[in-house]
Subunit: 362 residues, 2 copies
């Protein structure tokens, strides 16, 4: 996607092959800055501290982390250790493990002397595959927006939660891909952007992305979506996901479940944009089965923003002495989902449909 008219991705391989550059997403929307990562440890920190976030992006970045390890020590032990280390950076998204394990298998299968170059190429392939997958998700999702536009006047109102945009992937985004493609096709689209407390990925990242792309949008509190749906102001919800269980239960940013409940209560279609790399066929169900990352309460008690003087500062919101809890994800039961938009098409969020989808891809 473009920023100020210049094509940009949140992840870029450095030309010397000794590192990558990522957008430090903690600084958006006020400062766009790339940071170099030159080791598996750099990559671990960037994922853990959320310079990069979004299930597809952390998968690709983690793959490069393994490739950077292979540049230093490509022995079996070193690579296995690095893979385990990288997979521990965040517990919930399954793409992370998917990308690292896939690359590890590929690299261990070749002689040590060529592992570094194999890993580097393999990480690049994972990144490029993500771009293609997301483009395909957009292609399959686009008709959902076209159908709304065909039956009503005015813009198609899409609600999204968190950031499943191009910043969360290598390009296009997942949930935003149908939106960007609709916008490019000349469809009138308006996006309700959930603020997405506590880290405000909607207010700071999705709003910024959409603004750069010229897509009309309105930021709302996470509390507002139910009211908007009650009053017919949302045509369609599309969100991303961090892990989907084999029965279709979808783990995504905390609060997604509440929006799915409201959509269900108001007859608003609710779609999860899901690269199949996000599907965890080993999990029978998601509500009890998917580990939910508990992050620091400080993400809730403090927030960063820009003062009138233009300085970005962190301020405390809560009284001294009040505890805060910060579960980062929740799981939406499959029964609340209208469908999953995958790179292979839209499928029902149920065990049979997902088994069939994956049976054709092994």
């Amino acid at each position: 996607m473009k920023v100020n008219g210049v094509a940009l991705r949140p992840l870029r391989a450095l030309p010397d092959g000794q590192g990558i550059e990522v957008i430090d997403q903690r600084l958006l929307p006020f400062d766009l800055r790339m940071r170099p990562l030159r080791s598996a440890r750099d990559v671990f920190v960037a994922i853990r501290e959320m310079w990069v976030r979004g299930a597809p992006l952390i998968g690709a970045v983690a793959a490069y982390g393994l490739a950077l390890q292979a540049r230093r020590d490509a022995s079996d032990a070193a690579l296995r250790n690095a893979a385990k280390f990288l997979k521990g950076s965040r517990p919930t998204a399954v793409n992370l493990a998917w990308a690292v394990d896939r690359l590890l298998t590929q690299v261990l299968a070749v002689p040590e002397a060529v592992r570094a170059d194999t890993a580097w190429a393999g990480a690049g392939a994972i990144a490029e595959q993500d771009v293609q997958v997301n483009e395909a998700i957009g292609r399959h999702g686009l008709p959902l927006l076209q159908a709304v536009a065909a039956r009503k006047p005015g813009p198609v109102n899409v609600l999204t939660h968190c950031n499943a945009g191009w910043l969360a992937t290598v390009d296009w985004g997942t949930a935003t891909s149908p939106i960007y493609q609709a916008h490019a096709a000349g469809l009138a689209v308006h996006v309700w952007v959930d603020e997405t407390r506590p880290r405000n990925q909607g207010a700071s990242l999705t709003a910024w992305e959409l603004g750069q792309a010229g897509v009309p949008h309105t930021v709302v509190a996470d509390n507002a979506g139910g009211h908007l749906m009650q009053h017919g102001r949302v045509d369609l919800c599309i969100v991303g996901c961090d892990r989907v269980a084999s029965n279709g239960d979808a783990c995504n940013k905390i609060g997604t479940y509440l929006k799915a409940l409201a959509a269900h209560d108001n007859g608003v279609p609710f779609y999860v944009a899901m690269p199949t790399s996000t599907l965890d066929m080993a999990l029978a169900e998601g509500v009890q089965g998917i580990p939910i990352e508990e992050r620091s309460g400080r993400e809730l008690t403090h927030v960063s923003g820009r003062t009138a003087a233009g300085e970005v500062v962190e301020v405390q919101l809560t009284p001294d002495g009040s505890a805060a809890a910060n579960p980062a994800f929740d799981v939406t039961p499959a029964r609340l989902l209208t469908g999953l938009i995958t790179e292979h098409g839209i499928v029902a969020a149920d065990a049979a449909a997902l088994r069939q989808l994956m049976a054709g891809r092994r």
Copy 2:
């Protein structure tokens, strides 16, 4: 309730009878400051700008606004104008109109010469009645918490949204009254405090109140409640309300509806603490019938907090150019409510029960 061991109310009549003092709630939790209000216009600004908020409290403060007008000009025309003006300060809560209209009727019935003193005494009576009503709500709600405590070990986990605490009333609070009474009775209570974006009344007011009272509590993002309920970590929800329709549909702070959906989906009891002054028997239903105040998007795009240096500053959260919408309330359909905790006892949220309740009180 007490702050640093000293009894305090958010509204205090000045001894000279020429004004009132209110806590400027915009400054909490970092600064506790009383501000004098000496005219109907002062009162209008304090309500409109949310120095005071909470349906019961703005009712009592607005009544004093009418009384202050009566000190200056107690003619029919002046009082009727002031009543209309005060009722326009905020559109959603019905207590405001209830208190002002009740006092206006009372004052117009007496000779002009005694209207000022009648109005002053009448406003005081409304404030005192609020205290008694809230004490009774706590008394009727307490057994709900006792019943949970009797059937499970550990603290009773109550989730509340926004601030329906003593800061939202003259004393006790509505939703918090059963909690304070349970705590006083020695019951182990723990409160999940919804942050309540965009104005953070949970994080800044409810957390502060509970902290001052020594009630264990944890602030969570508005997004978190569904996840907590899915995992059995909420025993009971109690919220306040700004207006309840005759069929039991309950208007409260934006986001309440989402929590009620989650409670319903997980079998968690969901109660609305409702002084009967909040009941609008003239409204057949609430979802379409209750006017929802749209406040400035700036409440969402900017937030105030305290820097590490101890200074309270406002910071911008969203990118320049991103629009924001800010509906301040939503309406929870009666079908999602377990019951209404009133000063006369707990009643079902349905038309027949409410008709019966009010038939006995006319």
